[in-house]
């Protein structure tokens, strides 16, 4: 037998190739006991099932939601629910990741994502290193690769990366033999945000299948929407993108309905997901004036009145009160914005635990 196995690298992984999607793990089926006659068949199925479970644990990265099959997403959300219980304990800390080191590698400013990952890692007893580009050797011109190799030499177990360039986490995965978690890359993907949004919706609405979510606002520049589209579609939701044509990307995934008129969409939605209008976009000429955007797309009390009674209002933060969302709406009982923050910690604990807590994580 040759080592490494054909087609695998030294660590048993498939080589990186952006054109080849990662292998989808086979579905884990329920294997029940049987009579003596078909016991052999049952045993064979059990063995097969165990190998699949090992396959799940072997993937040590979370780069985007399409890395995850529906059932893995389900598993993360279920685990997150158990972790949200940990957060209600008097001692909010469990020893599962004792001795593991997690690095927050942040090349972009961020409060809630970085804090959320930090809290999540600390509640699992992992050690957290915070790296902020503005206070590090990056200022002196160190490249991403050299920074990554430095971290590898220090023996970290996981790198949580936020980078202004789309694809940076994929590069890191190629250079590092540790677990890489994407905390937002450029305008591309933000998988943990999508997962925490699913978690929040599921806790507040019950089921997700057949529900309708409208993403409203700057979809063009939003990695939250890009990952959110995929995650919501995978859970069987109907997805509507509502924005002026200048704030829509040239490609939206099949299955996403595109609309320009918010008032028409309102009565059909279970969830209104409001995206931030970034300050720098306001002067870019994407819309004639901020007042016009506000009058057409701001979610205010009047528009909330036209929506379904139990509609859920979500926002990934930070909010521009008075721009994309009116201040009263942000404080209304419909708003799940603080639940999203709480869900973020639980979901990130689940992701870190599932990637680092099992056998393959500590290599």
């Amino acid at each position: 037998m040759s080592f490494p196995p054909p087609g695998r690298d030294f660590y048993g992984r498939l080589p990186f190739d952006p054109m080849v999607p990662p292998p989808k793990p086979a579905r884990v089926r329920e294997v029940t006991g049987g009579t003596r006659k078909n016991r052999a068949a049952t045993e064979k199925a059990r063995k097969y099932q165990r190998e699949e479970v090992v396959e799940l644990a072997r993937r040590r990265h979370l780069l985007d939601v399409d890395d995850l099959e529906g059932e893995e997403m389900e598993h993360i959300l279920e685990t997150a629910r158990s972790f949200s219980e940990v957060m209600r304990r008097p001692i909010k800390k469990v020893p599962s990741l004792r001795g593991k080191t997690v690095v927050n590698l942040f090349y972009e400013p961020s409060t809630r994502t970085r804090l959320s990952f930090e809290v999540a890692a600390k509640r699992l007893s992992a050690d957290v290193l915070n790296f902020t580009a503005s206070t590090s050797s990056v200022e002196k011109g160190e490249s991403l690769k050299d920074t990554a190799l430095t971290l590898r030499a220090m023996g970290v177990d996981a790198v949580i990366v936020r980078h202004p360039a789309a694809g940076a986490p994929w590069l890191l995965r190629r250079w590092l033999d540790v677990c890489v978690i994407n905390a937002g890359d450029g305008m591309h993907a933000h998988p943990t945000q999508a997962l925490l949004d699913l978690f929040t919706m599921r806790e507040r609405l019950g089921g997700l299948e057949g529900r309708t979510i409208a993403y409203v606002g700057d979809i063009l520049h939003s990695r939250v929407a890009r990952s959110g589209f995929k995650a919501c579609l995978a859970m069987g939701m109907r997805v509507i993108a509502v924005a002026p044509p200048t704030l829509l990307p040239s490609f939206v995934p099949p299955g996403v309905e595109v609309q320009h008129d918010l008032d028409e969409v309102l009565p059909r939605c279970d969830v209104l997901y409001i995206l931030r209008i970034q300050k720098e976009r306001q002067t870019e000429g994407r819309f004639p004036s901020l007042q016009e955007y506000v009058s057409l797309y701001q979610l205010n009390m009047e528009r909330l009145g036209k929506a379904r009674p139990g509609v859920l209002v979500m926002h990934p933060g930070p909010m521009n009160r008075g721009v994309e969302i009116a201040s009263e709406v942000a404080d209304a009982p419909h708003a799940a914005i603080t639940s999203q923050v709480a869900a973020g910690v639980a979901v990130r604990m689940a992701v870190l635990f599932l990637l680092l807590g099992s056998g393959e994580g500590g290599v």
Binding site: E43, R46, S82, R89, V94, A350, G361
Partner: protein
């Protein structure tokens, strides 16, 4: 690998009697059921703890609070597991000063009980922590001793003990066998 049964060492009737005896012993040791809390370790400790609570209710007429404990997060062998599944833990509020009885199906190395004690101490400071098990099969690796034992079952390390409970497996019984 799969479980191949060799002999059935306890029947439904035996389990029923043992649960009743343990309930009596718990009440006797703690002089009543006033400050008791039962904590079942997932998976099979949970239905057992509920059965013991029911038996105590029959004996003393007191509803004993029952909690469920998932010890996955406290295990010392996490790195050997494939994909761990974390279930929800529910502990009754305010365990300070109470007598907590951990309930599990099989006592073997003692490592689950160590993990359970760590978890309990994260929730509060009980007056005492006691341990009730349906089967004690020996081979302890930690200095842990049960307070209430359903049946002492001398085994070899190669053997496996499997407890079946109606709530989980559809039938009651204790099997001894081996992994194939």
């Amino acid at each position: 690998m799969g479980f191949v049964p060799k002999a059935k060492v306890m029947e439904e009737e035996d389990i029923r009697r043992v649960v009743r005896r343990i309930a009596h012993e718990i009440v006797e040791r703690n002089k009543g059921a006033a400050d008791l809390i039962l904590l079942g370790i997932r998976t099979r400790g949970v239905p057992l703890s509920e059965r013991i609570a029911k038996a105590i209710a029959d004996i003393e007429g007191v509803e004993v609070p029952v909690g469920r404990l998932d010890i996955t997060l406290y295990r010392d062998d996490l790195h050997t597991l494939g994909q761990p599944v974390v279930k929800e833990t529910y502990l009754p509020p305010d365990m300070d000063g109470k007598n907590v009885v951990i309930v599990d199906d099989v006592l073997y190395t003692g490592r689950s009980v160590r993990a359970a004690m760590d978890a309990i101490i994260d929730f509060g400071r009980p007056a005492t922590i006691q341990l009730a098990v349906l089967v004690d099969r020996g081979h302890r690796e930690l200095p842990i001793r049960p307070d209430y034992v359903g049946k002492n079952l001398p085994t070899s390390r190669e053997e496996k003990v499997k407890v079946l409970l109606k709530e989980v497996d559809g039938e009651d019984g204790v099997l001894i066998g081996y992994e194939e």
